[in-house]
Symmetry: C2
Subunit: 237 residues, 2 copies
């Protein structure tokens, strides 16, 4: 458990070593993709010898798969904590959006890994039995929330939970994952605290507005909350 006191040439710490290796590999794969990742760099970052990678995990591909599986396990674990059953439907959706968004912010490597895996057409994921067993608990949760929402009158529509889940993930994922190019193109920092808060608000507003029919908060950057847009008479359809 705790580190031994006597520091000689090196100490034994297989579990710790394995963790450091996986962490370093995660960074490396996230930063450079599969092809760009360098095994030597991983060893170096892990404070280990290259031989250790093979000893504790395996070759480059094994390493990548282990990282990927770990990443999925982690998010699925956190997702499970968050049970939305007890919230009323709009709050549940808001919480789901909030969680997803913040998870992505807290785990940027996860985004990069997903992109990398998709570039590889999910060929590793397809092989991984472990990941295939971990389906997101959200789909059933969302189905339930939507049904409850429709029944209670909070929601106007019974959307497909898979579509909704993908949309919620999409709104945050794309923004964060593509923030580098988007920032260049729009000439606007998208990762400042203010910008991120704005984005979260926009996403929640968009989704809830579509589901409930309540109007989303309306403002444009720069001109803070223009005096409440008064509802113009509805146009006869």
């Amino acid at each position: 458990m705790a580190k031994r006191k006597r520091v000689l040439k090196w100490q034994r710490d297989p579990e710790g070593m394995r963790l450091r290796i996986l962490e370093a590999a995660k960074q490396e794969f996230a930063a450079h993709g599969i092809g760009g990742a360098r095994v030597d760099r991983i060893a170096q970052k892990a404070g280990a010898n290259k031989r250790m990678l093979y000893y504790h995990v395996g070759n480059k591909e094994d390493l990548y798969l282990a990282v990927l599986e770990g990443a999925y396990e982690k998010i699925r674990a956190e997702e499970r904590e968050l049970d939305l059953e007890h919230l009323d439907p709009p709050q549940a959706i808001e919480r789901l959006i909030d969680f997803t968004w913040n998870y992505f912010i807290r785990n940027p490597e996860f985004l990069a890994l997903l992109n990398t895996e998709n570039l590889a057409q999910a060929k590793h994921l397809k092989r991984s039995t472990r990941v295939k067993l971990m389906h997101s608990p959200f789909v059933e949760m969302i189905r339930d929330v939507v049904q409850r929402g429709v029944k209670s009158g909070d929601f106007r529509v019974a959307v497909d939970p898979v579509q909704l889940y993908i949309s919620i993930a999409a709104l945050g994922f794309f923004y964060l994952s593509n923030s580098a190019t988007l920032s260049v193109i729009f000439g606007r920092d998208l990762l400042g605290k203010e910008a991120k808060d704005e984005r979260l608000q926009h996403m929640v507003g968009l989704v809830l507005a579509a589901l409930t029919g309540e109007a989303m908060p309306s403002f444009e950057r720069g001109r803070e909350f223009p005096e409440k847009v008064q509802p113009p008479e509805r146009r006869t359809a």
Copy 2:
């Protein structure tokens, strides 16, 4: 101009060669990322000698940048064709969503390239003067559409056009770009014609519902259009 008749060992065709090289490079970079791309493979796909890449374009990085710039030019050009000024606001938004979605479907390499560039933190894009000049014409277009929509009463809210643009791109981009992993996780083919139609419908419904307040089409996969969900009395907030 036209191909010469006499076929000896090879014909001269600098412009054609350059195009073939760029096309091959696009495929390769899109399929394998920067680090995974192989210069020899590009040459082979282009039906050229490796030396040709350096002769006509430059080294690997130059090649990548040329591809990236070309990709941006292409989408910006198509965007410009599509002027939304003359449509009424809801139609304009629908058309924008439809165009973006179908552009992504028609140009899967574009998605991959964007992901690749974001993995590299847009470092090439930042350097490229060419791309920085090509800001998307959509932002101003959208601002205009939104304003018109608010004025006409079609829209309830004046959303930030940048947020809206990002959201529209996000809904389609994420779905397509991550379809490989999502398909595995949901155990459901997301790329069939039917699934794609459904997705488009969902996206349009979601965005327009949020903007206009009209209810989005409601159905869940499998159970086609359940008899119209009758609006239950609104819950007192």
